[in-house]
Amino acid sequence: MVAPLDAEVVSDPERLAELAPAWDALAVACGRPLCAPAWMLAWWRHLPAPGARLSVVAVHDGEELVAIAPFVAEPKGAWRIDLRMLGGAMPRTGPIALPGREWDAAQAVAGALARARPRGDVLALESGPVGSHWPRALAERWPGPLRPPLRRYYVQDSYVVSLAAGSFEEWMTEKGSHFRKRMRKVRRDVEALGGVARISTAETLSADVAAFMRLHASRWEGRGESAIVVRERQLTAVYEEVAAVHLADGRFRLYLLELDGEPVAAELLAAAGGEVASINGGWDEAHAKVGVSNACMLHAIEDAFARGDARLDWGPGDQLFKRRFADGNDPVCWTLLLVPRPRMPLTFARIAPTVARVEAREALKRALTPQRQEQLRTLRARVLGRG
C-alpha cells in the first residue's frame, strides 16, 4: 500500500484510447457512469473549449491503473489556466480511483500536476460528489510548503432512488399509497391512449436521439437557456458515439414513450457498476397532463430494477418531478483549488467575483422565503425577456 505510484500526464488522445479499457474498469468499480472514457473522450472530440489541451493524469501501481484524473487545461485569458474535468460539468464527474486508494493516488496526481507544463492555476472540480475524497486529498497532498486554498462555493441537491428494495413491485409498495395510486393512474391513462414505452436500439438510435433533442428543446421554449439545446449538434454526435460503445451493454439507455408511434417523452441515462445517472429528459407539453414524463421515468426505474442496478441518480436540481420519485439526496458540489505559485494572488482576485456571485445568490436563497424567491425569478425572467 505504501509503494510509490507512477503518475503519467497524458495529452495524446491515442494514448488515452490505449488506457480506455482499464479506465472504464475503474469507472465501473467506482460506479461513476459519466467518468467512463466513452463519455469523456466523446466530449473531448466534439466539445473541447477553445485552446484546451488534454492533461489527464493516469496513476499506475505496477501494471495496474489505480486512478485517473481526467483534467483538461483551459486557458482563461492571459496568466490563468484552469484545469477542469473532461466532460465540462457533467454531473458527478471527477478523478476516480480504486476504492481506498484515493489518497495515495491524489499524492501522485498532485505531484504530476505540480510538475506539468503548462502549469495550472486553478483545479476546478465541478459537479463532483459532496462525499468525495478528492478535493481535500489533492489539497493535503499537494507538494511544497503551502497547502493550496480550497473553496467549496456551491452545493446542489441531487435526488436518488435506492434500488435496494430488490424489485420494482417492492419499491412501489414501500412508496406511499398516494404515490402508488397516482403512478398506476398515469400508467392506465397512458395505456388507454395506446402509449408504448420502449428503449432505444441500434436501429432506432439516430431517430431517437433526434426525438430526445426535440422533446428537450420544446420543454425549454420560453423558459431560458438549456446547455443541451445550445449544443445540440455536438451533443447529438456525443450521444451517438457513446451509444456505439455502450448501447449493447446497457450502459447507454434512452427511453421513449410513444403515442400513436410518435415520441412524446424521452429520458436519457448512463450506467456503470450498478449506478444509473440521468442525463436529461424531455416531453411534449401537449401530453403533459397525462403524465407522459412520469410514465417514462417510471419505466426507467422498472428497467433498472430488472437489470439489478443499485441506485438511480436523477442528477443535480431539486425539481418536484425528481423529488417525487426519489428516496434520498446525494448532493454534488463545486470546488476550486488554487495552485500555489507566484501569481496565485492574481488568480484569487480573478475568481473572487464568480465565487462571490454564487455565494451571494445562495445567501439570498437562505434569507428569502420560497415565495419571494419565485417572485424574484419571475422578475428576472421578465427583465431578461424570457417571461
Binding site: 500500500m1 459532496v130 434520498g328
Partner: protein, 385 residues
C-alpha cells in the same frame, strides 16, 4: 416532513436502542451503536456531561439520530460533541443511507432551539468523504451559513477484504509478507502460545489485561487517552460486551503464553465493518511480534465471518500499513453556529486553528527526519514536565 426530538436524558437514548442499532448497522458504524455509546455514558463520560441527542422520525420510523452531548468545559465555548473520541474515531450522526441531508435539516432545527444553545458542533474523527459536515452546515436554519473550520486530517487505513477469502488475500500479499506471517505463527505455536477470544466468562479479566497491556506499551512513550481512562475503560468493555459479545459484534483477541496474556486487541462490528479499537502487548515478548500475529488472526476471522471491511482505526502506524490496502482518512472540524456569541466562539477557536495550521505547514515544509527529531524533542519535554 421529518420530526426531530431533542433527548436530554441517557434513559431517553437507551429507550431507542433497537431502532438506533438498526441505523448503526445500516451505516456500518460500530462505534456509534447504542451498546457502545451507552456503555461510554455509564463508564467514561466526563463528569457533568449532558446528553443532547436528536432523534429524527419519518412517521413513526427512526430515520436519524445524532447522539450529541454538551461538554462541560469547552474553554468558554459551549461545544456539542459526539461521544467516544477518547477511544475510537469515525464518529458521526446516523441516518438511513441517502437521507443524511433531510435528517441534517431536522437535526439542525432541533439544535438551533436546544438549551443550552450550542456555540459549536465538533466533528472529531469524522470521515473526510462523509456528508455530515457539509449537510449540517448547509441546512442550518437562518440566513447565515455557519462557518466550518477544518483543522486537520489523519489517515485511517483499512483492509478491504475484497479478495473474498483469507487464502486469496494471503496469496495477493508479497511472498516476504506471507513467509514472515507463517514463520511468526509457527514460532508462537512452538513456544506454546495460544490465540483465543474472550468469552463471557473471561471478559472482565481479559478487559483488565487489555488495559494493563495497553498501558505498559505507553510507558515513557507519550500520552494515551485509554491509559487515562484505566479501569473505567475495562468496565466499559465488559459492559458493551454484555450486549455485543454473543452476536460476535465485540471481539477481544488475546494471545497467551504460559497462561499469561501477552497481547490483547479489541474489535467491534456493525453492518459488516469490523473496527480495530486498540490494543496492547507485553514488550518482553516483542520477538513474537504479537500485534502482527493478533491482527493476522483478525483478518482471517473477518473473512470467515463474511465481513465487508476491517477498519484499522485512526493513525498510519507501520504495523497497520503492512496489512492495509486502502485509506479512508478522518478529519477534525468545528462548525461555529450563528448567534450573538459567534464572534466570541470564533476568537476562542482561532488558537486551535492556528496551531493546527502551523503544525500542518511544519509537516509539509520539514523533512521526515526533522519531523522525527521534533517529535522526539516534544516527548522529552513532556516527560520532563
Amino acid at each position: 416532513m421529518l420530526d426531530a426530538e431533542l433527548i436530554a436524558e441517557v434513559d431517553g437514548l437507551a429507550a431507542l436502542a433497537p431502532e438506533w442499532d438498526a441505523l448503526a448497522v445500516a451505516d456500518a458504524l460500530p462505534q456509534m451503536s447504542p451498546a457502545w455509546v451507552l456503555a461510554w455514558w455509564r463508564h467514561v463520560a466526563p463528569e457533568g456531561a449532558l446528553p443532547r441527542g436528536v432523534a429524527v422520525r419519518d412517521g413513526g420510523r427512526l430515520v436519524g439520530l445524532a447522539p450529541f452531548y454538551v461538554a462541560p468545559d469547552g474553554g468558554g465555548r459551549l461545544d456539542y460533541r459526539l461521544p467516544g473520541i477518547e477511544i475510537a474515531a469515525r464518529l458521526a450522526p446516523l441516518a438511513v443511507p441517502g437521507r443524511e441531508w433531510e435528517v441534517a435539516a431536522a437535526i439542525d432545527g432541533a439544535l438551533a432551539g436546544a438549551t443550552p444553545r450550542p456555540d459549536a458542533l465538533l466533528f472529531e474523527g469524522i470521515a473526510v468523504d462523509g456528508q455530515w459536515q457539509s449537510a449540517l452546515r448547509d441546512r442550518w436554519p437562518g440566513s447565515l451559513r455557519p462557518p466550518l473550520w477544518r483543522t486537520h486530517v489523519d489517515g485511517s487505513p483499512f483492509v478491504s477484504l475484497r479478495e473474498g477469502s483469507f487464502e486469496a488475500w494471503m496469496a495477493a500479499r508479497s511472498s516476504n509478507f506471507r513467509q514472515q506471517m507463517r514463520r511468526m505463527r509457527r514460532r508462537f505455536e512452538q513456544a506454546g502460545g495460544v490465540a483465543r477470544v474472550a468469552t463471557r466468562a473471561t471478559l472482565a479479566d481479559d478487559a483488565a489485561a487489555f488495559v494493563r497491556l495497553h498501558a505498559s506499551r505507553w510507558d515513557d512513550r507519550g500520552h494515551s487517552n485509554l491509559v487515562d481512562l484505566g479501569e473505567r475503560f475495562a468496565a466499559m468493555i465488559a459492559d458493551a460486551g454484555e450486549r455485543l459479545l454473543e452476536d460476535g459484534r465485540l471481539t477481544l483477541r488475546m494471545l497467551d503464553l504460559d497462561g499469561e496474556p501477552i497481547c490483547a486487541q479489541l474489535f467491534i462490528e456493525a453492518g459488516g465493518t469490523e473496527l480495530f479499537v486498540n490494543g496492547g502487548w507485553d514488550e518482553r515478548h516483542a520477538a513474537f511480534k504479537p500485534s502482527l500475529l493478533c491482527l493476522l488472526d483478525a483478518v482471517e476471522d473477518a473473512f470467515a465471518r463474511g465481513r465487508g471491511r476491517l477498519d484499522l482505526g485512526v493513525g498510519e502506524q507501520p504495523y497497520k500499513l503492512r496489512f492495509a490496502d486502502g485509506d479512508a482518512p478522518l478529519e477534525w472540524a468545528v462548525l461555529l453556529t450563528p448567534g450573538p456569541r459567534l464572534a466570541l466562539s470564533a476568537a476562542r477557536s482561532t488558537r486551535t486553528l492556528v496551531r493546527s495550521r502551523v503544525r500542518a505547514a511544519a509537516l509539509r515544509g520539514l523533512s521526515e527526519e526533522r519531523v522525527g527529531q521534533l517529535r522526539g524533542l516534544q516527548r522529552r519535554l513532556r516527560g520532563a514536565a
